[in-house]
Amino acid sequence: MGDAVLELTGVTKRYGDFLAVDRVTFDAPRGRILGLLGPNGAGKTSTLRMILGISAPSEGEIAIFGRAPGRAVQRRIGYLPEERGLYKRMTALDTIAYFAKLKGMWGGKARRRAGELLDELGLGDVKDRRIEALSKGMAQKVQLATAIAHEPELVILDEPFSGLDPINQNELEVAIRRLANAGTTVLFSTHTMSHAERLCDRFVILVKGRKAFDGTLEEARAEIPRTIKLESANDLSFLSAVKGVTDVVPPHDDIKHWEIVLAKGADPQAVLAACFEHGAKLTRFDSSPPTLHEVFVVLAGGDVGDAEP
């Protein structure tokens, strides 16, 4: 906790009678990637705006670099908003340099840094092109560059992957990893679990404004019962008698496999051994750990909204 760049304690945000964020507490360690997950309307953007000082919490406290959000820490933060917007008639280079200057960089350095970033992001050839003449993917990279041009210590990315094609999504993942490797703390919100699973060191899951989970992927997996998927022509009902098995779900509807639900800490090998003992022929034995999406579904109580695997 001592190395935390960001700390939220009991943060609540109300818009009139609507409770957008409800007593959320978490922290972001320095140099790590923290994912803020949740379906739309979970309170992710409201939380990020409070962290940025754009809006004030109704209750609770936020500390960034040990200080309250505001002018003192604004220059140490980079922000990529969910809904992208840039000045259409400005060139890519001028746009990045302008926002870098607003964050405290001086003119010459800002322009040099903007040029370097555009080269790094593969946009060196279009640096003098107006934003309106860029493709969506290019514009999104420019927007990312505006968030990191002033070399912030904390970068906040709100749904950074939305609207990007797979190639650009991969490039963005590389850029985010590069930031973290350079010691920058990254906090990003998403409802696409695969990106979070690949990138994040830790997750905070928000559901209807409340924190549903805070921890690593392993800790998240441990939160939910493990399920083994088996395919066999035999009747596997006997598995319900195996120690550590809490439920046996036979194939039904479109699901052609058996689902064996294990108690927390139970060994999947016991199920495999029981199958051998009963002479059951298995055509599939899948004991891979639950995906983040599966964890998310459970933690969100089925209310996953538009969350994607």
Binding site: I54, S55, E83, R89
Partner: protein, 513 residues
């Protein structure tokens, strides 16, 4: 402060590079060009209709009046030349030397009455205006400007043949008098201003002469002709009565005159020339500044609404505080307004000689006022305060809108309600030192607008100080009020949308979320 400047300058460049702003910037000079060039392009008919040179014809059935009329026209040229030469002498001659060495000339041009008949007689006796100037030249100060004698304003021309031959001369004269048909003049085709019919028995006093014209309001020519006929009639009757010629001449040049005097030309009610110029100048300058204030305030609001709708506002708010963003936007508008005013004023000043010679005197009067740096500073200060007051209010309205339509819905009624604030200073222009002007100088919101007009005169120091204090306090209060709304509404997707919703946000006790 650096961030405020960055935002202001960025907005300024963005607007200046936009076609819409350039269009607005250049429209006024373009209108001036059109307004000035159009009359120039059709100079001949306009000269004929509204210029100072008149061409007229005389139908003299007595057969004896034309020499008297021509002599009167010559005398008119001399009389006007005398007035101009007297004013020229007053400014440019070494008066002491002239009085010492040429007392008669000094008496005529410096100490005499340039309007009197005896002075006209005297200058005619000296050989006319040109000869008198030749005599005066040796007494001029070094580097005196050239003397430009006034041009002849009345020309007698021959009656067009189709009128002369017509049975109904009035009807035949109509197209000429309406400038639909031109007649040959001394330097080319001209319109006929008037026809003077002198019946045969006019000399016996049995019939009146008739002056036929399409414009009965401007009577200078008619008056010259009336005096010519009147004098000639009297001279002939005096001759018939056996009055000596010299006595007749003396009687005819004797006239009682009334002098006009305004005891306090600067007070309300006096319609002195200078006073009219001050009023016209103040109103013109005020309207120009007023247009600049509203045009730029609207532009900045629209830009803000666009930034809000395309989410640039959120990005900006992650970089700077809402108050900084608002201040930057306000100064963007101020820079734009100053640019507009600069371009418009320069265009007007540069083109007045060529395009609007009649307005030159207004511009000269304004220029004389602006020679005092304190007045320029005063005008700049109150213009800026007026802009910031309006601009901050508009920005708050813009922050409460989510679309251009919303913004217009809010701004339009606000503009209409505040019209008295902007119209009162026009009333103030007629009496910038009067009680209304002084009262309005201390009224919150009204004060900077009022002082924009009063800056062109010489308001009392206490009024300037009072208006400054009132304006600054009002601005401080408005900015505090609107900054709260601005900060709260900028990221609200459902904010405002109506004028009354905006007012509730602005003045309501509830804190906008």
């Amino acid at each position: 402060m650096r961030q405020v400047w960055l935002i202001a300058w960025h907005g300024f460049i963005q607007h200046v590079m936009s076609r819409a702003f350039l269009f607005g910037l250049l429209m006024l000079p373009l209108y001036m060009l059109i307004g000035g060039a159009a009359p120039t392009a059709s100079q001949a008919p306009l000269d004929a209709l509204g210029g100072s040179i008149r061409h007229f014809a005389v139908v003299d059935k007595t057969g004896v009046m034309l020499p008297a009329i021509d002599a009167a026209l010559e005398r008119d040229v001399t009389a006007r030349g005398l007035i101009v030469l007297s004013a020229y002498a007053d400014e440019n001659v070494d008066k002491d030397r002239l009085r010492d060495e040429a007392p008669e000339l000094a008496s005529l041009l410096l100490d005499g009455d340039a309007f009197s008949e005896s002075s006209i007689d005297a200058i005619e006796a000296r050989g006319g205006v040109s000869q008198t100037f030749v005599d005066l030249r040796q007494y001029l100060k070094p580097d005196s400007p050239n003397f430009i004698a006034p041009i002849r304003r009345f020309f007698r021309v021959d009656l067009p043949e189709d009128i002369d031959d017509s049975d109904d001369m009035l009807r035949a004269a109509e197209p000429y008098l309406a400038a639909d048909k031109l007649i040959p003049g001394p330097y080319g085709p001209v319109a006929l201003w008037a026809i003077l019919f002198i019946p045969k028995d006019f000399l016996e006093g049995k019939a009146n002469a008739t002056y036929v014209t399409d414009d009965t309001n401007r009577v200078f020519l008619r008056e010259v002709l009336r005096q010519a006929l009147d004098s000639e009639l009297k001279r002939r009757q005096a001759q018939a009565l056996g009055v000596p010629t010299d006595a007749t001449a003396k009687l005819l040049t004797t006239a009682g005159r009334i002098e006009t005097l305004d005891p306090d030309p600067d007070r309300l009610g006096a319609l002195s020339h200078v006073r009219q110029l001050n009023v016209i100048g103040a109103v013109v300058v005020y309207l120009m500044l007023f247009m600049a204030v509203f045009m730029t305030a609207n532009m900045v609001v629209m830009a803000l609404v666009e930034e809000k709708s395309n989410r640039v506002a959120e990005l900006l708010l992650s970089c700077v505080r809402a108050e900084t963003l608002m201040a930057g936007k306000l100064f963007t508008g101020l820079l734009l307004a100053l640019l507009l005013v600069g371009v418009w004023a320069t265009s007007a000043y540069a083109s007045v000689d060529t395009l609007f010679p009649t307005a030159k005197v207004v511009v000269e009067n304004l220029t004389a006022n602006f020679k005092d740096p304190a007045r320029v500073l005063m005008l700049f200060t109150f213009f800026s305060l007026a802009y910031l007051t309006v601009g901050s209010f508009f920005l708050a309205a813009g922050s409460a809108a989510t679309s251009i339509t919303d913004a217009q819905t809010i701004v339009a009624p606000a503009t209409m309600i505040s019209l008295p604030i902007f119209m009162l200073p026009i009333a103030v222009a007629y009496d910038p030192m009067g009680p209304l002007a002084r009262f309005a100088s201390y009224l919150p919101v009204f004060a900077p607008f009022t002082m924009m007009v009063r800056s062109l005169s010489a308001p009392e120091g206490i009024d300037v100080l009072g208006a400054l204090v009132v304006s600054v306090l009002t601005l401080w209060w408005i900015i505090r009020l609107v900054a709260r709304v601005f900060r709260a509404n900028l990221l609200r997707p459902d904010s405002g949308g109506t004028f009354f919703g905006f007012l509730r946000d602005l003045f309501g006790r509830r804190r906008p979320t």
